[in-house]
């Protein structure tokens, strides 16, 4: 179960407008009728990419040809709030995103994303706005998220980003999927269970 460390991500980026992008927006609940995560990518941001009434493509940046190959998402505050559905980060990775830069993230979304190896870094609004402006102006701009140095660079732009220490460590050490380590502690798990009166 060895997985490769993730130390940096780079690619072109797409700026997503709006604050409090909830998981219903990232993947509308009706697309969660599935027993595997395969195929969720095409439904990412579905209701903002397609006009709910006409079904026509909207002017959302994800429909903009220039951002077609973007692999980094730039967003506002409280990205991923709402439901705990892992379908949300799953749909983003399946869509082709490899990293997210935002003002802040909702907790469950953050944890789900890290476990999938989808790094999420946060920065103050001014930096995010600058990055959004830069990528909107030049869709070919290469954006680099350096998880080791905790920086984001894009052309002349460079700023510090934050990531909670455990997530950073997990990505850098290739242990972002904790299953192997969890299983490895079998004896300690059983000892803890033995100390709990309600566990038989």
């Amino acid at each position: 179960m060895a997985i490769a460390p993730i130390t940096q991500i780079s690619g072109t980026a797409v700026p997503i407008p709006g604050a409090d992008i909830d998981t219903d927006r990232i993947i509308p609940a009706r697309f969660m009728k599935c027993v595997t995560f395969d195929g969720l990518g095409e439904f990412a941001f579905y209701d903002v990419r397609f006009d709910p009434v006409t079904g026509e493509k909207t002017d959302h940046p994800l429909n903009d040809e220039r951002f077609k190959d973007a692999s980094i998402l730039v967003a506002g505050i409280n990205f991923g709030c709402g439901s705990s559905r892992e379908h949300a980060p799953q749909s983003l990775t399946k869509y082709g995103f490899t990293g997210i830069v935002a003002e802040s993230f909702a907790e469950i979304f953050y944890g789900n994303s890290t476990t999938l190896g989808l790094p999420c870094v946060s920065a103050p609004k001014a930096d995010i706005d600058a990055l959004k402006a830069a990528t909107a102006a030049d869709a070919t701009l290469e954006v680099k998220i350096d998880i080791e140095a905790l920086t984001v660079t894009a052309g002349d732009l460079s700023f510090a980003v934050e990531m909670p220490a455990p997530a950073r460590h997990a990505l850098l050490s290739g242990k972002y999927d904790p299953i192997a380590e969890l299983i490895g502690n079998k004896d300690k798990i059983e000892a803890t269970a033995a100390g709990l009166a309600y566990i038989e």
């Binding site: 709910p52 009434v53 892992e86 798990i189 803890t192 309600y198």
Partner: protein, 475 residues
């Protein structure tokens, strides 16, 4: 220095520290449903792993269950999901409250009803409203599907510890003000992001006097305030509720359990990272006007007006919300016409919700042109309501009385808004598209306020709609 319930439960369930610094936490009780579990079982199969403690996982189906005829899946995908959970529970030896069991329902209604939800335990479920179970003095987390896999495979998961904020509400709620209003009040006050990084301890004499149902309503929406979990310290009300439930301890074990449960309550000298106090008399019947649960106002207030909002960011948020909601800025929320009234969900789909609402609906009629549905949270709740004749009261008033499920709380079963219909809803989320139509609109409120809106055909102050409301305060 004393400890909080959160710390005590956390410490008792800590397996160790992982190499990334997170805690490996033992999860005593794992609840699963059809939407977020099939992929986790798929991962288990891929890894060739068994379920480590199959007796500690309990399953039901709720999100996709049709409420007109439960046994008729809406489409082949829904049928496939039902088949998947049946097979997974069968293959891995997990207790499953199937449709035929008479015990099926919304997972957050079923756990407490069965006595599975117990004080001093850790609970996880692939569903963000797992915080509901905190009402019993449990630490209950909503988790993602990969974590569902982790809990199935190891009965543990990796977690970062939280800070604890005590939210103290004191005093008596005024007539027509309910637990739902308390939770909407708190979310409005602290914001939808205010609780990030926190567990909420709800306390004060208002909570002491609350029933378990009322406590669940508040804890249910902890997540809408950004908190990862919320809880109320266990007390006699908790024990009274749990006594005699199918999975509650019995005989000598019961007494031992109560002693143990009591010991988990926060110590009187426990230290908190933050304390907030609220006066119960300040809480008014509340409704939402926008697309986030913290977009709340009291029934007497006006819809916010971006033109008079100086802060540009706040202004943009209001503009976006009102553009979606198509509501007139700066005018009273009272009187806004509705299309649909929905009473149900894991926030307000319990016996007490239907009992309380029926008191006022009796002899009233739903306004012409309004679709009104009442959906019990579980099959057991449905039967209890029916035994008391509540279903008849709802039906005579013009509500459809449905079978148990998540129904119109979200868009995974046939109960959906159509087009830009506007719904007075007792559920917990008013996100864009939440109720099934990408342009559907949701106004959150207490069940009694939903009933008032149904009767008047527009957002109403239940205290004016129902003459007898002034006389029967809850809590």
């Amino acid at each position: 220095m004393g400890k909080t319930l959160y710390q005590k439960v956390w410490d008792a369930h800590t397996v160790g520290t992982l190499s990334d610094g997170r805690t490996q936490l033992f999860i005593g009780t794992h609840l699963i449903h059809e939407v977020t579990s099939p992929q986790a079982f798929g991962m288990l199969r891929e890894l060739g792993l068994p379920v480590k403690y199959p007796k500690r996982t309990f399953a039901t189906i709720d999100h996709i269950v049709p409420t007109i005829n439960q046994n008729q899946p809406a489409d082949p995908l829904a049928a496939e999901m039902i088949e998947a959970i049946r097979k997974n529970c069968d293959d891995f030896d997990v207790t499953y409250f199937d449709l035929k069991s008479g015990k099926q329902g919304i997972v957050h209604v079923v756990g407490p009803e069965q006595g599975i939800t117990q004080p001093g335990s850790t609970i996880a479920c692939g569903d963000s409203h797992t915080a509901t179970h905190g009402a019993f003095g449990a630490i209950a987390f909503g988790i993602g599907t990969t974590q569902v896999r982790d809990v199935l495979a190891t009965q543990t998961m990796a977690m970062e510890s939280l800070k604890v904020r005590r939210i103290e509400v004191n005093g008596k709620l005024r007539p027509g003000v309910y637990a739902k209003d308390v939770t909407l009040h708190i979310i409005r006050m602290l914001g939808a992001k205010g609780g990030i990084g926190y567990a909420y301890e709800y306390a004060g004499d208002t909570f002491d006097h609350f029933s378990m149902e009322e406590r669940m309503t508040v804890c249910n929406m902890a997540i809408e305030g950004g908190a990862r979990c919320g809880y109320v310290n266990p007390d006699e009300t908790t024990f009274e509720f749990l006594k005699g439930r199918p999975y509650s301890p019995t005989g000598a074990e019961w007494d031992e359990a109560v002693t143990r449960w009591k010991s988990f309550a926060s110590d009187s000298d426990a230290e908190f990272d933050d304390i907030i106090t609220i006066n119960a008399e300040d809480v008014e019947p509340s409704v939402t006007w926008g697309i986030s649960p913290d977009h709340g106002i009291t029934i007497g207030e006006n819809i916010p007006d971006p033109a008079t909002t100086p802060d540009p960011e706040e202004r943009a948020v209001i503009e976006e919300a009102l553009a979606y909601m198509k509501l007139p800025a700066g005018t009273p929320i009272k009187g806004i016409p509705i299309d649909v009234a929905f009473i149900g969900s894991c926030t307000n789909g319990r016996l007490s919700d239907f009992r309380e609402t029926a008191k006022y609906l009796k002899g009233k009629k739903v306004a012409a042109g309004i679709t009104a549905i009442a959906v019990p949270g579980s099959q057991i709740t449905a039967i209890q309501c029916e035994q008391e004749g509540l279903d008849k009261i709802f039906e005579e008033a013009g509500f459809e009385w449905r079978a148990a499920g998540c129904s119109m709380c979200l868009a995974m079963n046939p109960d959906k808004l159509i087009g830009d219909q506007i719904c007075a809803s007792s559920s917990n989320r008013n996100f864009k598209g939440r109720q099934g139509s990408p342009i559907g609109r949701t106004i959150l409120m207490s069940p009694v306020m939903v009933a008032a809106a149904a009767v008047e055909g527009k957002i109403a102050d239940a205290r004016e709609t129902f003459e007898n409301l002034g006389t029967s305060a809850v809590a």
